[in-house]
């Protein structure tokens, strides 16, 4: 069964703390993504990873960095989290590089106080 997992599902942090969001997929997909979803703003692309150590900025990369050391695993890191980074974060994966068929994880709800 094709699956994208995200950990943790819920996270509360204080402003200035570091945050690590983890994503895994069991489909050997080349391409992986991090999005954030906010009411009224829809889905915004943070980073794309085309494969191990091959990452590219999305539309809103500022304040975020990523790491992909294994094909099945993609991490999103917030160094010194800010309150405006409170959001729901989704990870997705896609076979190939076209990106038109993406499989999403269940999301991580991050609150930065």
């Amino acid at each position: 069964d094709m699956k994208v997992t995200q950990m943790p599902r819920y996270l509360i942090k204080r402003m200035g703390e570091n945050v690590l969001l983890e994503c895994g997929q069991d489909m050997s997909h080349e391409t992986m993504y991090w999005y954030r979803q906010d009411p009224g703003l829809g889905l915004q692309l943070i980073y794309i990873s085309y494969d191990v150590d091959s990452n590219s900025e999305g539309d809103i990369p500022k304040g975020y960095r990523v790491s992909r050391k294994k094909r099945e695993h993609f991490s999103l890191i917030l160094d010194s989290a800010k309150t405006n980074q409170t959001s729901v974060y989704f990870c997705a994966s896609s076979p190939g590089t076209g990106g038109y068929e993406q499989y999403f994880g269940p999301g991580t709800r991050l609150t930065v106080l």
Partner: protein, 112 residues
């Protein structure tokens, strides 16, 4: 750059009705079009995609979509909706760069 427009923010129908959710796009080249569904509190789920060939494509759970180059549209349809189809539906386009551009979404409410 590609853009996606979903003109209806909210659509309400009764169970058993047919429904059409509209999507229009703008892009000068070849693109992939797709639809996703998001139930409350969950991630997006891929429904169907189109790139070429038969302009009517079938997806999961009885959904289908029809591509029209002349209208720059990719509308999603279902002949008979169920209460469990209540969700937010996103149209998306990709210019094969690996990036998807999503529409703002249409909230479908199915009343019993």
């Amino acid at each position: 750059t590609q853009t996606v427009s979903q003109s209806d923010a909210h659509v309400t129908v009764f169970e058993g009705d047919s429904v059409e959710l509209r999507c229009n796009y703008s892009y000068g080249g070849s693109i992939y079009l797709s639809w996703y569904i998001q139930h409350h509190g969950h991630g997006l789920q891929f429904l169907l995609k189109y790139y070429s060939g038969n302009p009517v494509v079938q997806g999961v759970n009885g959904f289908e979509a029809e591509f029209s180059k002349s209208d720059s549209s990719f509308h999603l349809r279902k002949a008979s909706v169920h209460w469990s189809d209540s969700a937010v539906y996103f149209c998306a386009v990709s210019a094969r760069t690996g990036k998807l551009t999503f529409g703002d979404g249409t909230v479908l409410t199915v009343k019993p």
